[in-house]
């Protein structure tokens, strides 16, 4: 594997070079990147849950939850909220197109989906705000 094998990905003439990308391409790249992040998160999530099998009556799990309810971790949860909502709303757009809906107005559909995503993300921030900025954490 040589560096030039990746020119299609990083080269200035590549369709992934930022100035060469249009809305749909950004959406597609974003979908893949968030998707990969979420696959990694699922395994992290399961490994956290597996602590319930260690210690008496979920003591290890409760300790871990006390740590992860600290503001820094909750702030990271908010990043997860952004990633999930983007992936879900852009995914909804993909499903709509596959059903033959909205293809002719694909840019509009993208921005409507992103507007809904923005509203949901702001709602998420509102719900999570106190846990990041007011609570001193569960420790």
């Amino acid at each position: 594997m040589k560096v030039r094998d990746f020119k299609w990905l990083f080269g200035k003439n590549s369709e992934f070079w930022p100035t060469n990308m249009k809305t749909g391409m950004w959406a597609w790249v974003g979908h893949r990147l968030t998707g990969l992040v979420l696959v990694a998160y699922v395994f992290l999530h399961l490994s956290f849950l597996s602590t319930a099998s260690v210690g008496d009556d979920g003591a290890s799990f409760n300790d871990l939850m006390a740590t992860t309810s600290q503001p820094l971790f909750v702030a990271m949860d908010f990043l997860l909220v952004i990633v999930v909502i983007y992936h879900a709303m852009n995914g909804l757009r993909v499903v709509l197109f596959d059903l033959g809906l909205g293809i002719r107005r694909q840019k509009l559909v993208f921005w409507v989906c992103m507007a809904v995503a923005a509203v949901l993300i702001v709602g998420g921030l509102w719900a999570i705000w106190d846990l990041i900025f007011v609570s001193s954490g569960g420790a």
């Binding site: 290890s60 879900a88 719900a127």
Partner: protein, 131 residues
Amino acid sequence: MPEQKISTSKVAGTWAWAFQRLSAVLLIVFLAIHIYADHFMDLDEHTGDDPLITFEGVSLRLDQLFYIVVDYGMLSMVLFHGLNGLRTVMFDFDMFAKRKKLVDVGLWVVGLATLVWGIIILLPFITGSGG
């Protein structure tokens, strides 16, 4: 684009494509319930700086068949959707597209093993006895 000799959509297959969409829609529903139940439902009763999520709290929720179905349903859908998505990304690269059988078998093994692992790690919550 990668210099594709093999078309990604042909390698990935129609069934995988259809189930990716189906699992996507189901995941939105499951996720909404999962997040609501875990983070919002008991928020009114939450006081002070106690952790929102405790072993006892999750156990209490997983006493109900509904939430067991939601969580295990979500586990199976998320594993399919995530690993099948990863498969689609991999098939955009010739080095993986050329080894379709190996990739498919590998991802099925990872998926099924993780499914079994996921089923097992939720059992302490369902039976209400950790450790």
